[in-house]
Amino acid sequence: MADRDEIQRFTMAERLIHWAVAISFVYLVLSGLALFHPSFYWLAYVLGGGPVIRQWHPIVGVLMFVFLTAMYLKWRRDMKLDDLDRRWLRQVHKYIRHEEGVPEAGRFNAGQKLLFKTMTLMGVLLLLSGIPLWFPMRFSRNLREWSILVHEVAALVAIGGLIAHIYMGTAVVRGSMRAMLTGWVSRAWARAHHPRWAREFERTS
């Protein structure tokens, strides 16, 4: 297999699911922002024009929900919060400032777990509220009004999460991007960012 200093962090299936969610979600964010506010409408032209994104946004939305479901089933056991995670959350200010004294993280840290739960919940809300907006003539006006509100608030929460996730994964925790692309990380990386997971891995292998 690979040399001794490398640990496999994500399987092929996990990476495939992650990127399927990621690519469809980025399309949904860009096309959704175009309709969210005129200052983003130029994105509509980039993506083929207003009528084109109006047609594709809901279709890609359903597709993303399918991917998100697969992701949920794949990771839901790894994403359960335990006591150390709850302590991690109380020390999150130290994590943000890169200070010592943050409880050790397992395979995923509590921030990642919260993001996972948030994104799953927002995915459900976005799907449910998106259907009346997809077929406006089939639903009552009152339901559509509420759907728009729910859809926009859920989308904003998800976009906030996405910005944080991309920033952490590319700029702050160096090596994460490689992990999600190739699947492998160095032992040092694992010990530094996910010590409990690294020790567990070393014990079992």
């Binding site: 506010h37 003539m137 904003l156 906030g160 920033y167």
Partner: protein, 289 residues
């Protein structure tokens, strides 16, 4: 619409000011329900002038009404309703129904496509189909349930108040066709005067609750009614107190600010965090073999 763009007062989904620099008298259509005989000449004139294909796909349902409802190619409808009064009398109302051309149009507020809905200085609210993306938000925004989506083309349409005829100094086609003077067209001021005079006449004849329907919840409308029973507009198929809904105001107001704050603020916050704290460092003892 280059010829009239100088008279555009409001444009959907546009943050820059509308080009409107020409003032125009505010126009209005008056529908005096008390003198409508339900002949439907206005419906025919509308279909003819706007060259709309007739819809013959609906079965006859035993009603005098031409269609059960407005359609993407059927922009105005005389609603026939049987109203049972509390004293047991039965009244048969016939009320022309179409776009109300609100002064504060919910459709225009709701529309996310720049330039798909415009409001002219004269008060006419027009849909510009080439800019329409077919999302249907205008249908949600409209408190009168007027815009209709054509599922084949994905474009929404509604009564234009014959903006093409009005721009050429003519009255709308429906007005032209009305044989009883139930319909009239002119400046809103003038028509309000006529309407209130007519209300006085009706009151003298015993319609004590007669009144003008010009709902303030949407800033007033450019289609106004004289109703013999103005206390119960729902008897005529008109909403009681139409207003731009609070959900729409919240969605197009504070939420837009919050959204841009999250997007731009989020990116800025990430950048500043990086400048201040940089990446997570992998400690020496971890890298040590």
């Amino acid at each position: 619409m280059p010829t009239v763009s100088l008279e555009v007062k409001a444009v959907s989904a546009t943050t820059t000011p509308a080009p409107g620099m020409k003032e125009a008298p505010r126009v209005a259509k008056l529908i005096d329900v008390s003198s409508c005989i339900g002949c439907k000449a206005c419906e025919v004139a509308c279909q003819e002038w706007n060259d709309l294909p007739p819809s013959v796909d609906r079965p006859f349902t035993g009603s005098y009404q031409t269609m059960p409802d407005l359609q993407w190619n059927f922009w105005q409808l005389i609603k026939f309703r049987e109203v049972l009064h509390q004293d047991g009398r039965l009244e048969w109302t016939m009320t022309k129904y179409q776009c109300m051309h609100c002064a504060d149009p919910g459709c225009l507020r709701a529309c996310p496509a720049p330039g798909a809905i415009v409001q002219y200085a004269n008060g006419i609210v027009d849909f510009v189909q080439e800019n329409c993306i077919g999302c249907g938000y205008c249908i949600t925004g409209c408190p009168f349930d007027v815009p209709r989506l054509n599922p084949q083309t994905g474009k929404v349409s509604k009564c234009t108040l014959c903006s093409d005829r009005v721009a050429a100094g003519l009255e709308p086609a429906c007005i032209k066709a009305c044989p009883t003077n139930c319909l009239s067209f002119g400046t809103k001021e003038k028509l309000l005067q006529i309407a209130h005079r007519r209300v006085e006449q009706l009151k003298e004849r015993g319609f004590t609750k007669a009144g003008v329907y010009d709902p303030p919840g949407v800033g007033g409308t450019h289609v106004i009614y004289v109703l013999p029973h103005a206390d119960r507009p729902e008897d005529y198929g008109l909403p009681k107190d139409p207003k731009v809904s609070w959900t729409l105001k919240l969605w197009k107001g504070p939420l837009k600010w919050l959204g841009r704050l999250i997007v731009f603020g989020g990116i800025l916050a990430a950048f500043v965090h990086y400048l201040r704290f940089g990446p997570h460092r992998v400690r020496e003892e971890d890298t040590g073999k």
